[in-house]
């Protein structure tokens, strides 16, 4: 008896846990069904018979209430509850409210263009779709000039404040921090419709005082480079992705920071392992390492430090020709850095 009660209790707890889990995950089992528009259209009910007031000014949603349904057609409802409570998708209504709040739209101005044919824009009705708000591509059928000139404010009240993310190739999902470089390069003008200069500069600016991961430290979901314990990881990441640092930072950045923090520039600390530089290729590591990530060498040995390389690799030097096979440059020999190794009058080797 006691065991049966325990089993029932465990079963009830499991049901509650499942229900809670479903609620947390956003699963809805009893969502209202979408309105059967198609059925009404096929039955010959015109759109404006239910959706009244389209020719009047104002920001009404033009949604019919129970009275509209029960006045003529459904005079004897099958249930005492509200019609729209079960037969209208809350998601569709939410989309309409969102559209009203975000868009400068007036049905009245579109009636003559559409010639009374609502399905010219609301073509999803024919497919019985739950979402009745036309996609933006439908607007572009006529408003192609606004699209071409990226004048989002022609329709949107304030795109930046909407917080609506793009749905096409600029959808901010997946690993957007990595992806945005390849996507935004061809769509900079679209990015600018939401993001101000300060947004790009907060990571790409040369004078940025602190990255968003620091300035917005209380928001762990805010996109930012150098997230969390990056200062610990940065050496591993830099060596695994040669050149990545150079896309934003000047080569001197490594050395300036390391010297300031006392981890470089110390006379008693040799950063290179034994066998770094030698007279034979077998005990030479520096050439290969320099080619893997020349920016890391340039960080310390740039500027006046380049003379260290020139000492061996200048024309006729013991270090030999540092250029790889097939090397070419459009720089004249008299320009920097060529003239460091190729004194005027010396031949290109």
């Amino acid at each position: 008896m006691k065991r049966g009660r325990a089993l029932r209790l465990a079963g009830a707890l499991a049901c509650v846990a499942l229900a809670a889990c479903a609620g947390i995950l956003g699963l809805r089992t009893s969502a209202p069904e979408s309105f059967p528009h198609r059925k009404h259209v096929v039955a010959g009910v015109s759109c404006t018979r239910c959706h009244t007031g389209l020719d009047k000014p104002g920001d009404a949603l033009h949604l019919p209430g129970d009275a509209t349904c029960t006045t003529e057609c459904h005079a004897k409802p099958h249930d005492t509850r509200s019609c729209v409570g079960c037969h209208v998708s809350s998601l569709a209504v939410a989309e309409l409210i969102e559209a009203r709040d975000h868009l400068k739209f007036d049905h009245r101005r579109h009636l003559s263009t559409a010639k009374g044919n609502c399905m010219r824009c609301h073509d999803a009705v024919a497919e019985g779709a739950a979402r009745m708000r036309p996609p933006m591509a439908t607007c572009f059928r006529c408003h192609d000039d606004a699209r071409n000139t990226r004048r989002c404010d022609a329709c949107h009240r304030n795109l930046a404040d909407e917080g609506t993310l793009p749905a096409t190739h600029l959808a901010h999902d997946g690993d957007w921090m990595r992806e945005h470089g390849a996507r935004a390069s061809s769509s900079g003008d679209l990015c600018e419709t939401c993001h101000k200069q300060s947004y790009c500069a907060s990571c790409h600016g040369q004078t940025v005082p602190a990255l968003p991961a620091v300035t917005r430290f209380a928001d762990p979901f805010r996109a930012s480079v150098h997230r969390a314990g990056f200062s610990a990881r940065h050496a591993l990441e830099a060596r695994s992705d040669p050149g990545a640092c150079s896309t934003c930072h000047a080569p001197e950045r490594c050395a300036s920071c390391h010297v300031a923090k006392g981890v470089a520039g110390l006379r008693d600390r040799q950063p290179h392992p034994p066998g770094w530089v030698g007279l034979t290729s077998s005990d030479n590591q520096h050439g290969r390492e320099a080619r893997r990530d020349p920016a890391s060498c340039a960080s310390c040995h740039g500027g006046a430090g380049e003379k260290l390389c020139v000492g061996c690799h200048a024309v006729g030097g013991v270090g030999g020709n540092p250029h790889p096979a097939g090397w070419s440059s459009r720089q004249p020999l008299t320009a920097m850095p060529c003239r460091m190794c190729h004194p005027i009058g010396s031949a290109r080797r």
């Binding site: 995950l25 997946g174 769509s187 300060s198 314990g229 080569p251 020349p294 380049e306 090397w327």
Partner: protein
């Protein structure tokens, strides 16, 4: 620069107090190595087609006066014609011209939209150097991009930029980019930059994604030649290089309305070394708007002796009365510790309050790494916003 500041003030001043003016002041303080930062942001749209924005900051260290510094991040005035067919901006801004690397400049930029959906963009100016008192040499950078729009929101273009430092050619780059939706569910983005000063491919990035219902799959590839990213005036730009590559695929699955699962499987190639790039991430929103959320991430990254494994978790829970608590934890285990410790933990716990106009936050950050055996810091932030956001 002074002209840009004068114009920005002139544009903003008549409308000060008007509805479109937005101001934000952020004060940040750190306790471990005592430092403070004050950031001021302003943006204004005094009339249609004309806007201005500015971000300036001032920071100070432990010794008053000695370490105090400040700078301008952005100060730009932007104007566009009523039709939107031409626009221009002047001041300090980040120029992003197609496949070329973003350039932070003091200068001007303009865009002209031509018939048949063709666009022309140009920019020019002096590359920004940190520090207001830095003596400026006459370095300059200029570039242009011609493009044609594709589909509703895509385009393809070709760009060129040249930078000269004290008259010497530092960068000369040609870029090609394209990004557009191929079909309702399939899209692509690609950019390639070619170094003209020392001819060679500098950087290529490709991404292509396909989405169907709750699943999105992306294939990506990146090729980067480090020496071609250095200024051509550097000796290290002539030694040739070993390009590195990264390729992989990311699958994002909305397993439930509030639950996203993301898997990234790829590889890195540097010279003869190959490393796995694996990430598994889950994100659960605890409400429909995502104001409360949890995320967990497992990652394997790096190449050769620089491979590491990491785990990261973050949470933000909204509390009553505009309060929120958030935390972020990370553990990194390098394959080769080099005497710098076998585990590098990092954690942050914060309490914040945001009533729309005022925002305040305080956090404790703790870590152990190659740099510090252990480090504890306290961060504080106070923010005030004016104008509708």
């Amino acid at each position: 620069m002074k002209l840009a500041i004068a114009i920005a003030i002139a544009v903003a001043a008549p409308a000060a107090g008007a509805d479109p003016l937005r101001l934000r002041a952020d004060a940040l303080a750190s306790a471990a190595s005592p430092a403070g930062l004050l950031v001021l942001e302003a943006e204004n749209t005094p009339r249609a087609g004309l806007s201005a924005e500015a971000v300036v900051w001032m920071g100070g260290g432990r010794t008053p006066g000695e370490d105090t510094t400040g700078d301008v991040l952005v100060i730009a005035v932007r104007a566009q014609t009523r039709s939107g067919r031409a626009n221009a901006q002047v001041g300090r801004f980040v120029s992003t011209l197609g496949a070329l690397r973003p350039a932070h400049v003091d200068g001007a930029a303009a865009r002209l939209r031509l018939p048949r959906r063709f666009d022309v963009e140009i920019f020019g100016g002096i590359p920004v150097v940190p520090g207001l008192a830095t003596s400026r040499s006459w370095d300059w950078i200029a570039g242009a991009r011609a493009s044609r729009q594709l589909g509703d929101s895509g385009s393809a273009g070709i760009a060129y930029a040249q930078r000269r430092d004290e008259g010497r050619l530092a960068t000369e780059e040609l870029g090609v980019d394209a990004g557009f939706a191929i079909a309702a569910r399939h899209d692509v983005g690609v950019r390639a930059a070619y170094d003209l000063a020392n001819p060679g491919l500098a950087e290529v990035a490709l991404t292509s994604s396909y989405r169907r219902r709750s699943v999105r799959a992306e294939v990506y590839g990146i090729h980067r030649a480090a020496s071609h990213l250095l200024p051509a005036t550097s000796l290290f730009s002539v030694i040739g290089d070993i390009p590195s590559q990264r390729a992989g695929t990311v699958v994002t699955w909305r397993a439930a309305p509030r639950l996203d699962l993301i898997a990234d499987a790829g590889a890195r190639f540097v010279d003869t070394d190959v490393g796995a790039e694996l990430t598994g991430r889950a994100r659960l929103r605890l409400d429909d708007r995502g104001t409360s959320a949890l995320t967990g991430e497992l990652r394997r990254s790096g190449v050769g002796d620089d491979e590491w494994t990491g785990i990261r978790g973050a949470a933000r829970i909204a509390l009553p009365r505009s309060f929120a608590i958030s935390t972020e934890l990370e553990l990194v285990v390098p394959d080769v510790d080099r005497g710098h410790g076998t585990v590098w933990p990092w954690g942050l716990a914060a309490v914040s309050w945001d009533d729309g106009e005022w925002q305040a936050a305080i956090a404790v950050e703790a870590s152990a790494s190659a740099e510090y055996r252990h480090r504890v810091d306290v961060l504080a932030q106070l923010c005030r916003r004016w104008g509708k956001r």
